[in-house]
Amino acid sequence: MSSTRALKTRIRSVKSTKQITKAMQLVAASKMRKAQEVEKASAPYTRLANEILTHLSNLGETDRHPLFKNKPSVKSRLLIVIATDKGLAGAYDANVLKLYSRQLLDDQEAGVKTKTIAVGRRANRFVSKLKGVEVVAAYQDLPDDPAGSQLRAIVDTAIELFMDESVGAVDVVFTEFISSVQQQATMQRILPAGYEVTEVSESVSSAEFEPSPEEVLEAITYRLVEAQVYHALLTARASEYIMRMLAMKNATDNATDLIDDLTLEMNKARQSAITQELAEISGGVEAMK
């Protein structure tokens, strides 16, 4: 049985760890709520973009535009993979990187070349170790509410590669926040562009396009792709925080259990020390008689 003093030191260190994990749990909880709010705020943007696109597609514009053209055979594609900067979020990074690796294997089998944009330090570290994957760009430490200018760098690269035909498709690999108990690593295709068919208000359907429908289409498609990347970043952030919150809650619970066990062991050690001392004293008294 270890000494009381050693046990005391361990209990103290576990207690301070518990304080840290508890604090991280609370911080993650409040950040998650914020990320969810920011994500919801972008909904009107997507809705309006979809509405204008639906109308343009009714005019037949989308069928002609290169951003919407499905390639008969995809020879190379771009994967945008979104992971965390600092980990400590349970299986979050493992799940999203597993999905990404599976995509790489599929591409390899099909003879498709893969390019990658990595977002988050964990993703950067992972892709930099891989062979045969061209890393186009890597981003880390993006804020919780990425501004348009920060997004644009990612979106511009994706659209540029697609337009000059160095890639035939662009997919985002990220973690979708389905509910507070369910988050799932998913993949979404953003180019060739798709849009949700929505009801077109009368104002849009009777409008003139200036300078030309093609140019408006290009501008609005850019906005929609941007909104999709933004959604992916934010829903990934919300998932990250909730998974970190759960991971930290588990750590806090484990620390509590550990403290209980250690305290019990320490009490036992103390008790046995006392018993032993008493036995020694009474033994000594017996001997004196």
């Binding site: 200018s149 104002s203 408006v216």
Partner: protein, 140 residues
């Protein structure tokens, strides 16, 4: 006429206004109630909003935008931009310093990525500075 300024960070403006001046590819256009339906492209610049008919130029509200899509009909103006900064929130001295920093960054940039990043910053702060300038000129 209703103006909606929709950004990725949410709806910035949703109000009844009298006149909106928008920067487009073919120059600035002023939109009054009853404008013919139009969908067009906004370039980076300043949006000016006149809330009531009799308002003087000094009470115009400005927003710095970085390009987007506009949709106009007789009763509505909807502007879709990724970000919009209210003129009220822009501090001229800060923008000036930021613009200078961005210009310096562009000079010292060593890679294509850095040059692009610097260019974006230069554009952004130039627009913000312009908005701050417009406000100041109309106030005095």
């Amino acid at each position: 006429m209703k103006l909606q300024l929709v950004t990725l960070l949410g709806v910035k403006v949703d109000a009844d206004v009298y006149e909106v001046i928008l920067p487009t590819k073919d120059g600035e256009i002023a939109v009054f109630p009853g404008h013919e339906p139009l969908v067009g492209i906004a370039v980076s610049g300043a949006i000016a909003v006149r809330h009531n008919k009799g308002d003087a130029d000094s009470s115009l509200e400005y927003f710095a935008i970085s390009g987007g899509v506009i949709e106009i009909d007789q009763h509505n103006v909807r502007v879709l931009v990724d970000e919009a900064d209210n003129g009220e929130d822009i501090i001229e001295a800060e923008s000036k310093a930021a613009l200078e920093r961005a210009l310096k960054m562009r000079e010292n940039a060593s890679s294509q990525v850095e040059i692009e990043k610097a260019n974006q910053l230069v554009d952004r702060h130039a627009v913000r500075l312009k908005v701050a300038d417009l406000r100041r000129r109309h106030r005095h």
